[in-house]
C-alpha cells in the first residue's frame, strides 16, 4: 500500500550504473578531487594527487661503496703482483698529494681529488703506506651522486597508492610532505522512527540501527572517511535538514531508510527538492528501492533499510564511485565457476543477487545458496561469494553452472557442512579453524538433505541422525542405501538426548509425547527430512498419536535453536530438540529418547582433512567442549562406522 507507488520506472542495473556514472562524470565529480598535504611518513596507502619530483639526488654525494682506500686511479696504473705500487696514507682532511690515499668506510664521502676506491681486502698496509697489486679503474666502487634517484626526476607518478618503499623513496628524495587525494567524506544518515541506537533500548517493534555502522565500515574499507549521523526519525523537515547539513560538509551522503513505510518516500521527495533524482528503484533483488540523486554536485544515495539490501546497493552504487573519486582502479572481483547446489527460483524482470557458500568437494566447486531474506544478516556473514541470476531468468536448476564472485581469495579453505544441525558442528568448526585453518560453513537442511548433498558431492561433511525403525539401527542403513557410490566415511560424533523443550517452570505441565495432542498445547515442528522430524513421527506412531491432532505440526523451522527460540518467544508451547538447545536458551527439557548423531566425511581416500577431523573428534578437548553443552555422550566420538571407497563410475 505504502511502498512501490512512488517508484519511478525501474531501470536494469547495468543501465542504472551507466546513468549514475555518466551523470557524476558530467557533473565533474571525478575530475578534480580535493587534495591535502600530508607528512610523507604518514602517507601509507594514500593516493598521490600529482606526479612527485625529487628535491635532491640519492645519493646526495659521491661516496665509497666499500670499506677500503680512496685513490686517484692514474696513480695505480701499472700495479701488478710482481710490480706493486705503494701509496702514502693521508689523514682525513689532509690535502691530496699525488700517490696518496685515504682510508674510507662504506658510505664515506669520497675525498677531494680521488676517483676510485680499492677494497680493503686488496690492500696490504705497512706503516704509513698502502701497497696494491692491481690498478684501479677510474670510478670503481664509488656510489656517484644521483646513481639511485636524480634531483628533479619523477619519483612517483600521479594517482599512485603509496607503499612503504615509496615512503622511503620520497623521504630520500628530500620530500617531507606529499600532496594526496583527500579521503572522500561520506556521511551516513540512519532514518526511521522505529530505529534505536543501542541494544539496551530495544523494545518489541523497535529496530536496532546496525546498518549505519556496517555502511560506515564499508565506506572505510573503500577508502572513504565515514561520518555517522545520529538517527533521524521519519520527519520530513528533520530528514531534509540532516541531508542539507551533511551535503555542506561531505563529498557524498548516504541515507539509510528504516524498514517501516514512509521514510523512503520522504527521502525521494527531499532529494528531488535538493537536486535531481536520477533513479528511484532499480530492477534488482534485494535492493530494489534504492534512490540515486545528485544534489549540489554531490552524489546522494538512499539505501534501502534491510541489511542485505543496504549492503548490496552500497556495493553496486557507492563503492565504485568512491574508488573513482580517489583515482583508484576498481578491483576486479575474482570469479570462479561452480555448480549450483540447489534449485534457485528467480523473478523474471529483476536481476537477483544471491549470496552463497563456496567449497570444492571431491574436485567439484559447489555454490550453495544461503537464506535469501533481505533481513538476514547471517547470510551476509556466512557468504563467501555471490551469484547473479539475470533479469530474464525464471531461475536455475540444481547443478546449473554459475559464476561466483568471490568476496576474498581463499575460498579453497572452506568446508561445507550440509545436513542436520547440531551445536557440536559449530564446535568442530572452531577446532578446524584452529588446527587446519579451514573455515566451516553450515547449511541446515536436515539429515536426508545432508545425505543427498554428499551423494551429489555438494558437502564435505553431513551430520545425520536417522533411525531405521525396522532394524532399530541409526544412520548406517541409510548411508548404505543412498550412498553406494563415492568415497566417504561415516563417523560417530555423539549419542545425544532428544526431548521436549518447554518454558521454565513447565507452565503447561507437559510430561511426554501424549501431551502433544492436548487442545491447549501448540507445537513447533522441524522440517521434513530432518532426523528430529523422523524421530517425532516414529514416536507418535509408537504412541498411537495422530499428527493432525497436534496444533502447530505444520509450523516448520529448520534448527534446534529455532525451535527453542520459538518457544521462548511464546509462539509455541513445546517442540522437540536436543538438550543443548534447551540449555542454551534456559528452557526446561523433558527427555524422550537417545539417538546417534554421526557425520559423513566426504573426502577422497587418505585426505588429510578427514584424518584431522577424526583426530579432533577423538581429542579430550573437543569432547569436553561438546559435553559441556549438555545432553551429549562423546565416548565413541571419532569411531569409524562405515567406509565406502567406490569411485563414481566404477
Amino acid at each position: 500500500m505504502h511502498k512501490g507507488k512512488a517508484y519511478l520506472e525501474c531501470l536494469p542495473r547495468e543501465k542504472t550504473c551507466k546513468l549514475w556514472q555518466d551523470k557524476l562524470t558530467a557533473a565533474g565529480y571525478f575530475a578534480k578531487p580535493p587534495v591535502e598535504i600530508v607528512p610523507v611518513a604518514q602517507a601509507l596507502g594514500r593516493v598521490t594527487a600529482a606526479c612527485t619530483y625529487a628535491k635532491q639526488s640519492v645519493p646526495h654525494y659521491n661516496g665509497s661503496a666499500m670499506d677500503g682506500i680512496a685513490v686517484r686511479a692514474q696513480d695505480t696504473f701499472g700495479a701488478t703482483e710482481t710490480n706493486p705500487v705503494q701509496l702514502t696514507l693521508l689523514k682525513n682532511g689532509q690535502p691530496f698529494i699525488a700517490g696518496g690515499c685515504y682510508i674510507v668506510d662504506t658510505g664515506d664521502l669520497l675525498p677531494t681529488d680521488t676517483n676510485a676506491v680499492i677494497m680493503i681486502e686488496d690492500v696490504h698496509f705497512a706503516g704509513n703506506t698502502a701497497e696494491i697489486i692491481a690498478a684501479a679503474t677510474p670510478w670503481q666502487h664509488i656510489r656517484i651522486i644521483g646513481e639511485d634517484i636524480v634531483a628533479n626526476e619523477m619519483v612517483l607518478p600521479e594517482h599512485h597508492v603509496i607503499t612503504p618503499a615509496d615512503i622511503a623513496a620520497l623521504l630520500a628524495a628530500g620530500l617531507e610532505h606529499v600532496a594526496v587525494i583527500a579521503k572522500p567524506k561520506v556521511t551516513v544518515i540512519p532514518t526511521g522512527t522505529e530505529l534505536v541506537a543501542r541494544a539496551q533500548d530495544l523494545k518489541p517493534g523497535a529496530i536496532l540501527d546496525v546498518n549505519s555502522h556496517m555502511l560506515c565500515a564499508a565506506v572505510a574499507t573503500w577508502g572513504g572517511e565515514p561520518i555517522r549521523h545520529d538517527i533521524v526519525p521519519d520527519n520530513y523537515e528533520l530528514i531534509k535538514q540532516a541531508v542539507e547539513r551533511s551535503l555542506a560538509t561531505s563529498d557524498m551522503v548516504i541515507t539509510n531508510a528504516g524498514t517501516s513505510a514512509g521514510t523512503e518516500d520522504f527521502t525521494s521527495r527531499i532529494l528531488a527538492e535538493l537536486g535531481e533524482v536520477l533513479a528511484h528503484g532499480v530492477a534488482i533483488k534485494p535492493g530494489k528501492p534504492v534512490i540515486l540523486a545528485l544534489c549540489k554536485g554531490k552524489p546522494v544515495i538512499g539505501l534501502p533499510g534491510y541489511p542485505v539490501s543496504a549492503m548490496l546497493t552500497a556495493e553496486l552504487f557507492v563503492r565504485d564511485v568512491l574508488y573513482q573519486r580517489q583515482k583508484l582502479s576498481i578491483p576486479e572481483p575474482e570469479q570462479v565457476p561452480a555448480v549450483l547446489a540447489r534449485q534457485l527460483y528467480s523473478h523474471v524482470g529483476v536481476e537477483e543477487f544471491v549470496r552463497v557458500s563456496v567449497g570444492t568437494i571431491q574436485g567439484k566447486t559447489v555454490a550453495a545458496p544461503l537464506s535469501r531474506g533481505a533481513g538476514m544478516i547471517s547470510s551476509l556473514i556466512k557468504a563467501q561469494g555471490m551469484i547473479a541470476v539475470g533479469e530474464t531468468s525464471p531461475g536455475l536448476p540444481a547443478g546449473a553452472p554459475v559464476q561466483v564472485r568471490l568476496f576474498n581469495r581463499h575460498q579453497s579453505d572452506t568446508l561445507l557442512a550440509v545436513g542436520s544441525h547440531d551445536l557440536a558442528i559449530d564446535v568442530l568448526g572452531v577446532f578446524l579453524k584452529r588446527q587446519a585453518n579451514k573455515v566451516l560453513t553450515a547449511a541446515n537442511v536436515g539429515s536426508m538433505g545432508g545425505i543427498m548433498a554428499v551423494r551429489n558431492n555438494e558437502a564435505h561433511i553431513a551430520g545425520i541422525h536417522m533411525l531405521d525403525d525396522k532394524s532399530g539401527q541409526y544412520n548406517i542403513p541409510f548411508v548404505n542405501k543412498y550412498l553406494a557410490q563415492g568415497t566417504w566415511q561415516l563417523v560417530r560424533l555423539a549419542r545425544r538426548e532428544q526431548g521436549l523443550m518447554v518454558l521454565p517452570g513447565n507452565p503447561k505441565h507437559i510430561t511426554g509425547m501424549p501431551d502433544l495432542v492436548r487442545e491447549d498445547i501448540t507445537y513447533v515442528n522441524r522440517q521434513r527430512g530432518s532426523g528430529t522430524r523422523m524421530l517425532l513421527d516414529y514416536l507418535l506412531s509408537k504412541h498411537g498419536l495422530a499428527c493432525n491432532a497436534i496444533a502447530g505440526y505444520e509450523k516448520e523451522v529448520s534448527t534446534h535453536m529455532a525451535v527453542a527460540a520459538t518457544i521462548v518467544a511464546g509462539a509455541a508451547d513445546t517442540g522437540m530438540g536436543i538438550r543443548a538447545a534447551a540449555k542454551a536458551l534456559d528452557l526446561e527439557f523433558i527427555p524422550v529418547s537417545h539417538e546417534c548423531y554421526d557425520i559423513i566425511l566426504n573426502f577422497p581416500p587418505d585426505d588429510e582433512i578427514a584424518e584431522i577431523i577424526i583426530t579432533i573428534l577423538q581429542s579430550p578437548e573437543f569432547r569436553q567442549e561438546v559435553e559441556r553443552l549438555g545432553g551429549y555422550d562423546l565416548a565413541e566420538a571419532g569411531k569409524v562406522l562405515a567406509v565406502n571407497n567406490m569411485q563414481l563410475g566404477e
Copy 2:
C-alpha cells in the same frame, strides 16, 4: 675488515626461517597473544580473540514481514473467492477477539493471539471489516524471533577478521564490545652515528634515516602498531638501553643498523647479552647481515642498513611472525611464470633475490631484472615482483624460465619501456596512467638495447635515437636491419637537441667538441650502444678527435640525468646529453647536434594501447608538457615512420 668476521655460520634461508619459527613457537610467542576489548563499531579489520556468541536473538520479537493484516489463521480457514471471510478490524492495543484482525506494517510486532499475516494486496477493506478470499497458513509472512540469529548461537568464530557485515551481525546480536587480538607493538630503532632525521640536516657523508619510516609503514601494512624510536648513535650503552626499554613496551623490536661499520656488531653483542642470538648472517643477497634474536620471550631483529636489504629481510623474518602473532593466515603471494629478459649472474652459496619489472609482451610474460644494488631505493619502487635465484645456481641465462612472486595482482597493467632514456618517456607514462590506467616502467639500456628487447619481445616500447652515418638517416635503417620479424611500428616522438653540459658559468670555457681532448677537461660518457654514445663517436670522428685522448671516456653512466648529476657533483667537467637534462639540474648547455628520438611500439596489429599511445603523442597537452622541458620539437610527434607486420615464423 670490520664486517663479516662476527658472523655466525650463515644458514640457508629455509633453515633459518624454520629455526626462527620453531624457537618463537617454543617460547610461546604465538600461543596467547594479548587481547583487548574494543567497541564493535570500531572493530573493522580486527581479529576476534575468541568465539563470539549472540546476546540476543535477531529478530528479537515476532514481527510482520509484510504490510497487511495480522490474523489468527484458524479464523481464515475456508475462505475462497466465492465464499469470502469477513474479519473485524481491531485497533492497536485492543484485545484480540475471535474473527478479529489488526493492520500491521512491515516490522511491526505481531499482536498477541494472532499467528499469520495476510498481505495488504490480498485484503479488501470495507468500513470496519477486512474481507479475504484465501485462507492464511499459520505463521505465514511472520519473521519469527531468532529466524536470523538465535541468542547464544556463535556469531563469529575465533581468529576471524571482522568485516563490515560482521559489525552489523555483532551489533544486531546485542554485542557492543568485542574481544580482539591486540595489534603487536613493534618498535623500530634506527641506529648509526651517520644517520640524520631530516633532509635539511644532510651533509656529505651523512645518511638520511628513511628506513625506519619504511619499516614502520611495512609493520602497519602487516597489521602491527609501529613505534618509531629516535635515531640512536653507534654507542654500545645507548643502543643497549634503547633495546631494553623498547622490549619492555613492545611485542617485537627491530633495530636497523646504519651502513657504516660497527653498528651491526654492537647489536649482535647486545642481543646476546639480553637474550639468545639465533642467527647472525643468512645466506641470502641482499640482506646477509640480518640478526635474529629472542630476548625476554620476544623477537628482536637486527635488519641491515641498506634499504633493499632491510625491506627484504623484513619481508622474510618480520612479516610472517606478525601475521602469526595475530592469528592471521599468511597471504600466499601470487606467482607467475615468466622468461628472464637479461642474463643474471648469481653467487653460488647465497640465495639471491632480484626485483624485476614484469610485463606481457606479444603474449610472452617477461621479467626484467632491476638494478641490484642493496642501496637502490629506486629498485624497490619500480619493481612489480621478485625472483629468487637458488643457492646452488651460478646464475641464469637470458630467456630462462623463472617464477615471479608478484607484489600485487595487477601486473597485466604494466608496460615495459626498454631502450634509450628520454624524459619524454616519463611524461608518456603519466599520460598512459591517466588515460589507460597502465603503469609504464622504464629500463634504460640504450638504443641498441631497446632494439634487441623488441626483437626478443621483452619490451612494449623502445626509445631509440641512432644515426646511420652512411645515409644520414635516423633510426629507420636500424629497425629495418634488426627487426625484420615481428609486428611493430616506429613512431616519431621528437627532434631534440644534444649538447655538452657544463657547470653554470662554464668555468672551463668549453665551446665545442675539440675542447674534450684538452688535458684539463674530464668527461663523463654514456654506455656503449646508447644513441648518445654513437653520436659522440660520430662527432669525434668527424672532428678527427681520438677517443683515448679524452679523460673519462671510459667512465660510463646510463642516463642523461646521471651525466648531468655527475657534472653537478664535480666528478666530471662535461658530458653529452639532451638539453632537458641540463635544464633539470640547472647546468649550462652547449648545443652540438639535433637528432630524432623515436619510439618502437611493439604490439600486436590493431592493439588498442598502440593507438592510445599515438593519440597521446599527437595531443597538444602531451606536446606542450614535453616541449616545456626544453630542447624538444614535437611537431611530428605521433607520425608513423615504419610499420612491420611480419608474424614470427611467417
